[in-house]
């Protein structure tokens, strides 16, 4: 059957090529150096007979005579004219127009558009820039390189998760953007993030990790950041916080190619508070120099019909925290093939990754070795003396913890913690996808895609007997948590790509998609009360069947079905109107309210096409867009089942439910943006500047309610409004460009103003009154908190503040420090905000002959950060440098009489996790040399086995030009909304220096 078909096609091809002069059908592919170009225009010169290329750069044009000249054009490329002649297949490779450089960028759903035509802000980062100074989590490489993108590493060392916020925080729920790989949403679950300043008694403040850290940075071809909702409205609720599109490498037609890269960096703990010399010695003796080694191998090649890409990478790292290590392996295979006379394009890919982390560093006070390390002050002894962390206890016939004094819930022997409270994380990811494209005719094609995306997180902590009693009972404790998240995604798109007339083009997509997410989790925790039968046996069969043992499984499944449409109408390459609409039906919403619609509209005018701006201006455009998006809820949030307590504990406390009588509705966000882009002097200089304004309403808060009215202390209600507005600008320049030497430079600037317009819509409901604040980070028993207060902003830091007189002296009455109790929220005073006023990233590349030099200076200006680390160290020890120095602090009493306290007395009074934390708030302003790379490209002869050899010396986080805080303010304890702008004994940030080698053959 198929042989027949092929035969027929073969004869048809012969017939066509043998016919002369007569009208014929011409088809082919238009591409550029990087691949196919969708939307390129092919017109028979002097006629209105024309078409545009489809999604894969293919076109078919009827009624072409052999004497006709085809005009193939695409914005940003040099127009080509080709006489049709007798060819029936005309493939064209367009060259970039140096006069009008304009790359193609990938937009929502993988739709490629020219930069000129898009109506919103988007920024591209290519692979070489991402991997110049390699980071184990590739997203960290975006820091400072995209205006308006805030990247915060977690303080959990190598393999840690990352917090990404685009254009400011807008939601009390999730503020992380959507990640899209080759057009398909990636599931990026974060397995649990710390929320409590004190720490988590159930295993510590653990960073559960995220799926992004499981991606091989060398598999990434480029990343595109779609900043606003206008850009991502096609993704519906998932795109509420912007989208980061990841395009992966694929095999290319042509010769077989092998890329190998190896990266070894040495990491030293660099940025921590000032300790006195004894404490510093002890800390230096405890923390170690770490190393990170990332190796990757990629093999690609193929024919015109089928291409293959294969890659393998591994990472090995030893952290600066003793016993902390990481091992990771990632494998990827991608196949691309064209079938049925190139009508059907098949893309199939599989990625699998596994990661094992021992003793991932944690923050907070529980299970944190740093408490004992920082506060060790046993006279005449060194911390190293306690490296032998256990001793024989004849009473129990057991090896028991050894420490210079009684242990407490927060303080144990640090070596005991790293060896006898040890943890292990095993995280795996599997991503398989299939993408089928079928071309029906020259203007219509179909695409069907599907992915199976699975992320698995496992955490285990084995806590030996004689660990402090609050953390573990006499026989020890065993904690296991597992999370298994599976996302199935499928979509079906109809692509329309038609030149309606010589000047009017239409690019449209109509589609439907479905996403099903299942989240299976398990917790097995023998608990703090008699959970284990026999000491130091860590298995479930050793658990006692009592209700203080936690055995919990949870299984959540949600489904979103969608239809969407997107259309871009272009007029003469100078005016583009972009309209999108999407409707989601989400299972997480109540059935009467489960459908919601997201529209967006945008307009771009290319001024440089409309009018002649002269020689100096090579390109100019203006853009404006508006979008409305929304977000659904967590699964099982609307009508949750009741929990069951293990060990005969019966039915647990009823979960928080919607306020009686209310019908929950999705959170809404309206956003508007305008921008303009200008390029000068043959594109050597350019500026892109934009302004945006977003308003988020109907947040789904859990309000405090009267138990005497509704029988529950909290209930959900839609309320509130948060606004963000800001300016983003990117300036780029190539000040020097000649054969031997070039210098390119990019400056990214962003500023965002966040305002909590209101947290309450004024609903008059019995049992609920106007709340004064909404809690992001509860203070608990400590004196750090973060609250949403009307008129305040997201990320506000609250502390307990010392009252000061008019001269600024602290008021100390009768030996007691007096608290400033004006304008309290939850008993604390606002002292700053975790977010910067503005950010600047300055990225530079120099090329001189075979040398390359790249560096990135990353600056954050404004904002505050609290060092609860310093407060705790000063509260429980006298190990800080300023406590040891013979300094005095002037204080006044209630009558204004001055006296002095020694620094040790004063900081002893104000220190502690629940002390006067206002004394430990610093400016978060910092400017650092974030990346540095000096490389050399070896000269290779034409007959060399290698095609390319490049060696670089690389460094990251090398030093701060300016920093006020005692810790690195670019690191956060949590990638969620809690614990921002505070360091509570987080792992000190490292300086990394290393070597990178790239080989291509």
């Amino acid at each position: 059957m198929k042989n027949n078909l092929l035969k027929k096609m073969f004869f048809a091809a012969i017939m066509l090529t043998s016919s002369v002069i007569f009208a014929q059908t011409v088809s082919g592919t238009v591409s550029d150096a990087n691949g196919p170009l969708p939307g390129a225009s092919i017109v028979v010169k002097g006629t209105e007979n024309g078409t545009t290329t489809d999604f894969d750069g293919n076109y078919t044009l009827d009624n072409v005579s052999s004497e006709d000249t085809l005009v193939i054009s695409f914005l940003g490329f040099i127009t080509q004219e080709i006489v049709a002649g007798s060819q029936s297949v005309i493939d064209v490779v367009l060259e970039e127009d140096a006069e009008n450089l304009d790359e193609v960028i990938v937009t929502a759903l993988g739709i490629k558009k020219t930069r000129a035509s898009i109506t919103y802000a988007a920024q591209d980062i290519k692979a070489d820039e991402l991997n110049r100074v390699k980071q184990s989590n590739p997203i960290n490489s975006l820091s400072g390189k995209v205006a308006g993108l805030s990247i915060t590493k977690s303080a959990s060392g190598v393999g840690g998760s990352v917090k990404v916020v685009l254009r400011g925080n807008s939601s009390i729920g999730n503020n992380q953007p959507l990640y899209v790989v080759d057009g398909i949403p990636l599931s990026n679950p974060t397995a649990g993030q710390p929320t409590n300043t004190f720490g988590d008694i159930n295993g510590g403040n653990v960073d559960g990790g995220d799926a992004l850290s499981l991606i091989n940075p060398d598999d990434i071809e480029s990343m595109t950041v779609l900043k606003g909702a206008s850009a991502s409205a096609l993704y519906g609720s998932a795109g509420l916080n912007g989208v980061i599109l990841i395009t992966t490498k694929k095999g290319k037609a042509g010769s077989f190619k092998v890329d190998f890269s190896s990266n070894l960096t040495v990491d030293s703990p660099a940025y921590m508070m000032d300790f006195n010399s004894e404490a510093e010695d002890n800390i230096d003796g405890f923390l170690e120099t770490g190393y990170t080694n990332i190796n990757s191998l990629a093999i690609s090649g193929g024919s015109e019909k089928a291409q293959t890409f294969f890659s393998y990478s591994n990472s090995f790292a030893d952290g600066v925290m003793p016993t902390n290590s990481l091992k990771q392996h990632t494998i990827s295979v991608r196949e691309t093939a064209k079938l049925f006379n190139d009508k059907l394009t098949v893309n199939a890919s599989v990625m699998a990754s596994t990661q094992k982390i021992k003793n991932r560093p944690i923050s907070g006070l529980y299970f944190n070795p740093l408490v004992g390390v920082y506060s060790f002050d046993s006279p005449g002894e060194k911390l190293r003396d306690y490296e032998i962390f256990e001793e024989y206890d004849p009473g129990r016939n057991i090896m028991a913890q050894r420490w210079f004094r009684g242990t407490s819930d927060i303080e144990q022997n640090p070596y005991w913690i790293t060896n006898r409270n040890a943890s292990e994380d095993i995280n795996n990811k599997f991503l398989g996808s299939l993408n089928l494209g079928y071309e029906i005719n020259d203007w219509l094609s179909l695409t069907a895609r599907g992915t199976y995306d699975k992320s698995m997180f496992q955490f285990e902590r084995k806590i030996y007997a004689t660990t402090e009693a609050t953390l573990a009972p006499a026989n020890g404790r065993y904690i296991v948590t597992e999370q298994d998240i599976t996302q199935l995604y499928g979509d079906f798109l109809v692509n329309i790509n038609k030149q309606l007339s010589e000047k009017v083009s239409l690019n449209a997509i109509v589609g439907t998609s479905t996403t099903r997410t299942t989240n299976e989790s398990f917790v097995g925790d023998s608990g703090t009360n008699g959970g284990l039968q026999f000491a130091n046996v860590f298995s479930y069969q050793n658990f006692n069947g009592n209700p203080s043992v936690n055995f919990t499984q949870n299984s959540l499944e949600s489904r979103t079905n969608s239809v969407f449409v997107s259309a871009t109408v272009g007029y003469a390459d100078m005016l583009f109107l972009d309209v999108t609409g999407r409707n989601d039906w989400s299972s997480t919403l109540p059935s009467e309210n489960n459908s919601f619609f997201y529209p967006s509209v945008g307009l771009t005018g290319v001024i440089s096409e409309m009018t002649d701006l002269g020689d100096k201006i090579s390109f100019a455009k203006v853009r404006a867009s508006y979008a409305e998006v929304g977000s659904g809820f967590l699964p099982d949030q609307i009508n949750p089942n009741r929990p069951i307590i293990f060990g005969g504990g019966g039915v647990g406390q009823d979960p928080i439910r919607p306020f009686p009588g209310s019908t929950p509705k999705p959170e809404r966000q309206k956003s508007f943006e305008i921008g303009t882009e200008w390029r000068f002097l043959n594109n050597r200089y350019g500026i892109d500047i934009g302004y945006y304004n977003t308003k988020t309403t109907d947040q789904y808060y859990a309000f405090a309610t009267s138990v005497a009215v509704i029988g529950a202390p909290q209930a959900y209600l839609n309320s509130g409004e948060i606004s963000n507005q800001g300016v983003e600008a990117t300036i780029y320049a190539t000040p020097i460009q000649n054969d031997d030497f070039s210098w390119t430079s990019t400056l990214n600037f962003a500023t965002n103003k966040n305002e909590i317009v209101k947290i309450y819509d004024g609903q008059q409901l019995d049992g609920l009154i106007e709340p004064e604040f909404f809690t992001l980070s509860p203070k608990g028993v400590n004196t750090f908190g973060s609250y949403l207060v009307e008129g305040g902003s997201f990320g506000d830091i609250y502390a307990q503040v010392v009252r000061r007189d008019s001269n600024g002296y602290p008021v100390v009455d009768n030996g007691t420090v007096v608290m400033d109790d004006d304008n309290l929220v939850d008993g604390l005073t606002k002292v700053g905000n975790a977010n910067p006023d503005f950010t600047l990233g300055w990225n530079n590349s120099f090329n001189y002959k075979n040398f390359t030099l790249d560096f990135l200076i990353d600056g954050k200006f404004g904002g505050e950060t609290m060092s609860m680390t310093e407060a705790i160290v000063e509260g429980i020890s006298n190990n800080s440098a300023r406590e040891t120095a013979n300094a005095n602090v002037t204080v006044v009493d209630l009558n204004g009489n001055q006296s002095t306290l020694t620094a040790q007395e004063y900081y002893g009074k104000v220190g502690g996790r629940n002390g006067f934390t206002g004394e430990y708030v610093y400016s978060a302003t910092n400017v650092r040399l974030a990346e540095f790379a000096l490389g050399y490209n070896f000269n290779l002869g034409d007959d060399s086995f290698f095609r390319r050899i490049k060696a670089s010396v690389v460094g990251s986080n090398l030093f701060f030009f300016y920093k006020d805080a005692p810790h690195d303010p670019n690191v956060s304890l949590s990638t969620g909304n809690a614990l921002q702008g505070v360091d509570v004994l987080g792992l000190p940030s490292s300086r990394s220096i290393g070597l990178n080698i790239n080989l291509t053959f």
């Binding site: 479905t514 489904r559 089942n641 009741r642 069951i644 019966g650 406390q653 202390p713 019995d766 609920l768």
Partner: protein, 529 residues
């Protein structure tokens, strides 16, 4: 060719799956089926039955232990003179020194509202018409749980609970007590009508599903509440008391009739006492038990490890004393005094003893209520009942002791806290004593017999002034609470002030005095006859 076929098959599958799955019902998703739905709970009537367990376990909350610590241990258990915290929390500025910590006291309110009365309401809706006996048990548990709340605060939300028409409107304490009596009427009637019913057997953590035992509890509880009103509302008190005394199922008679919750969970006091070292014997307990040479002392308390051979308690309301750098240093000095013994070796929480009922009958007799029986006999049976409950011997000699009186207290750590005994009352009954003296004897003995249930002991101390317990060492109430009169109530809690301010302002009016710890409750008249 094989490969092409495979791709085509895959393509079809993708398209097919899209078409098919898009049509499925969204409501099938979104449910955590590892947890339990109301529908699944209906098997074996667990949708009703499972609601009793949190009621049983939260009248005096089992878990987490710190919740009970805030619900009762750091207020009533200390105010009753039973126990003292060796650690001066919040640098000595806490509930026990009358610097009332609202964040703690929220638990006195929230625990019963979100575990007891809300489940009672849900059970009422499910069973009132179909299985009234099950509602009857829930009503008894509700009264047992909520009378403790009104006895702490005064006016509470009771009749309007869960009623969105009169949302959050407080009842006066008089209205609440009247509602208790009505609820007990309903409960007893429904149980009497179905006395052999077995519906509650699977869910009963106290009486094995025996409705006759529940009626005895209802009667005993009614007598407790009636006695509480004996001065403020003597007519109602007598009517209700006599109703309890004359019910055909009777009151608790033997120790087996006592009201205990048999949970699989650890006794919360054992966690607070043994694991945390946060609670020890009170000086008043030491004074009265050692003064009388009470044989029960060894089962109630352990000898002090720091002072072997002695039972040593700690004064109420210790501030952070001079000479101690911080709370933990002071705690270290006091933690070696006497801690609890029997009470923390069991997982049973004691809510009402049979001995208490005999003392209630003794007081009823003193007040001339019908069917109360002989006052002296009830008094002496109460004592011997308590001795046998604790396995102590020598009750006859103890009952006959007309000499021993409470002992002076010596603080072995800090002599500044030494204090002379507050009373010279003895144990032996003397028909010639004044009613006031008789009442002091009854209440003093009842106080010993109710240990460690501090809530009822504090209520009875406030109503009668007995036993005469030591005042706080440090009074940090800023003049709102008189040191000698001692604390009378707990102010309305912050969570109510912020979520139900209209309700609270109505409650303050009903309270008839300022919303602080010095205002007396309705039944707290300051006189006994």
């Amino acid at each position: 060719m094989m490969k092409n076929n495979k791709y085509r098959l895959l393509a079809c599958l993708v398209v097919l799956s899209l078409v098919v799955t898009s049509c499925s019902d969204l409501e099938d998703y979104n449910v955590n089926d590892r947890n339990i739905s109301e529908e699944q709970l209906e098997v074996d009537f667990q949708h009703v039955g499972s609601k009793y367990k949190p009621m049983f376990e939260s009248i005096y909350q089992y878990t987490p232990a710190w919740s009970y610590q805030l619900q009762q241990n750091l207020n009533a258990d200390v105010y009753s003179g039973y126990m003292t915290n060796p650690r001066p929390f919040v640098a000595g500025a806490n509930n026990t020194t009358y610097n009332l910590v609202s964040g703690w006291n929220n638990f006195i309110w929230s625990v019963p509202y979100s575990n007891v009365i809300d489940n009672a309401k849900a059970i009422e809706e499910l069973t009132k018409d179909e299985i009234p006996a099950l509602n009857g048990v829930a009503l008894i548990l509700k009264v047992a749980g909520m009378h403790r709340v009104t006895d702490v605060f005064g006016p509470i939300v009771y009749t309007n609970f869960g009623d969105l028409e009169n949302a959050g409107v407080y009842d006066s304490q008089e209205e609440v007590y009247n509602a208790f009596f009505t609820d007990l009427d309903t409960a007893v009637a429904s149980l009497e009508a179905n006395i052999d019913g077995e519906q509650f057997q699977a869910f009963d953590l106290s009486y094995g599903g025996n409705y006759a035992s529940w009626i005895k509890l209802a009667n005993s509880l009614r007598l407790r509440l009636a006695i509480r009103l004996s001065v403020v509302a003597p007519t109602t008190a007598q009517t209700e008391g006599e109703k309890a005394l004359s019910n055909s199922y009777g009151l608790m008679v033997s120790n087996d009739d006592g009201f205990y919750v048999n949970s699989a969970l650890d006794h919360p006091l054992s966690v607070i006492d043994n694991s945390w070292g946060d609670i020890r014997m009170n000086a008043s307990m030491e004074s009265i038990l050692t003064g009388y040479g009470d044989a029960r002392i060894g089962s109630l308390f352990n000898e002090s490890p720091d002072y072997p051979g002695e039972y040593k308690g700690i004064r109420n309301g210790l501030p952070l004393q001079a000479g101690y750098a911080d709370e933990l240093e002071q705690k270290a000095a006091y933690i070696g005094l006497s801690n609890m013994n029997d009470a923390v070796k069991t997982s049973k929480v004691q809510l009402m003893t049979t001995a208490e009922v005999y003392f209630l009958k003794a007081e009823a007799g003193l007040r001339g209520w019908a069917n109360a029986g002989d006052t002296q006999a009830n008094y002496e049976t109460g004592i011997s009942m308590s001795f046998s409950q604790h396995g102590a011997s020598g009750s006859a000699a103890y009952i006959a002791d007309a000499v021993s009186t409470p002992a002076d207290y010596v603080d072995p750590v800090n002599a500044a806290n030494n204090i002379a005994a507050m009373s010279t009352i003895t144990v032996a009954w003397n028909g010639a004593d004044s009613n006031e003296m008789k009442l002091e004897k009854i209440i003093t003995q009842k106080w010993i017999a109710m240990f460690p249930e501090g809530q009822e002991a504090w209520s009875e101390y406030r109503r009668t002034g007995y036993p005469k317990i030591f005042p706080v060492v440090s009074n940090q109430s800023a003049g709102t609470i008189d040191t000698d009169v001692q604390i009378r109530r707990i102010p309305f809690v912050d969570s109510e002030l912020s979520t139900n301010p209209d309700g609270v302002s109505g409650a303050v009016t009903l309270l008839g005095g300022p919303d602080n710890g010095g205002t007396r409750l309705w039944w707290d008249t300051g006189s006994n006859f």
